[in-house]
Every structure is written in structure tokens, then in C-alpha cells.
Amino acid sequence: MNLNTKNFGEITFSEEEIITFSTPLSGLPNSTRFIIISKDVDLLFYWLQSVDEPNLCLCMLDVFKIMPEYNPEVAENQVMALGEVNFDDIKTYNIVVIPKDVKNMTVNLLAPIVVNSKTNKGAQLITKNDNELSFKIFDKLNFKEGGTK
């Protein structure tokens, strides 16, 4: 399948890569099907690219790799709604907001994107424990020269 995206131009992907959400993400209507683009995986960035809306693309971080102490607690039944739970199949990503000054980059620890890679179902789940909605993460990413080239 092909898609002409805003950020990546024309991309090709297979049907099996599509992750289906039971509802659109809050505030971002009209899209329930996404693929995860991991071209910036060396920086721990991932892109949640909508298949339904080519202009809808969110940046995500793999926070577990940056802060091993991150411990999102979500309602068990909400994870079960993504299909049979095998811990190794559950992947978690956190949506990033990047303002003009990249050093003020924040990551949403309160409501991670949770994906069951076996069933390819995903959801944005709200954690029950005390996690920040806008956590300043830039200093933990260890970019050279304060981040820019």
C-alpha cells in the first residue's frame, strides 16, 4: 500500500503493519488506523503516521529506554481490550510535543500509546499512577551541543 505523507513523502507499507485503534485519539478525529515509522529509531524517536489522514503524524519517544524507572500503571481490562496479553508483545510509546525551542520538548507520560504487536491493536491509555502530562525530557536525551548541529 502507498501513502503520500506530509513528512515522509510517498511511503510504502504492508497491510500487516497497520495498527487499529478502537476510537480516534482524543482531539485528533477521523483516524483510527496508523503505522509506526521507526526511521529515527537511533534517536529513540518513532512516528505515529495515520493511514486515514496523511497529514496526521505524531512524534513519539520510547521512554522506557530513556528512563527505565518509568512505570505506567494502566487498567488491566483496557490492555486486555487490545487482545490476548503477552508481556513481550506490548509496546509503549509516549507522544512528544516540540515547541520552537527544542530544549522545551515535553513528553506525555500520563497517557502513553500502548500497542499489542501480536494483534496490531492500539490505544492511548490514561495511567492510574502519578505521571506527568508534560514532562521536560530534553536533558535526558543527551544530544551533543545542546541538541542542534
Binding site: S26, G27, C59, I95, V97, I98, L110, A111, I126, L133
Partner: protein, 71 residues
Amino acid sequence: MLALTRKKGESIIINDDIEIVILGVSKDQVKLGIVAPKEIPVHRKEIYDLIQSENEQALNVDIDIINSLKK
């Protein structure tokens, strides 16, 4: 908006599969019990609004900024 009057212990049904029970009332607080299928997310509105606004802001990420971080 539909307005219904309910007493403690009574409930309303939405769409055949969501039940909202009035568990208790005291002064200006109401305690609700919600019975819904597990795939239906239920949130306090104020948290939902915050996440919605955060998602909307995330939409404006400039990919060039991420590219500039490389190296």
C-alpha cells in the same frame, strides 16, 4: 442536553451496554458507578481535556527539528 432526575441507587442506561448508577449524594457531590464494556474508556472530563489539548499540540511537530538533532 437531556436532563434526568434520579435518586440514590437508581441508574440510567446508555446504548444498551453502559449503565451509570447513582451510588451516593452528599451536598454538592455525586458518586457515580459506571458499568461499561472494557473497550469503552471512561475518564474524568478535566483529564480528558488536558490530554486532548496535548495531542493537538503534538500534531505540530516540525520534522526538520528532529532531523537537526541527528549527529
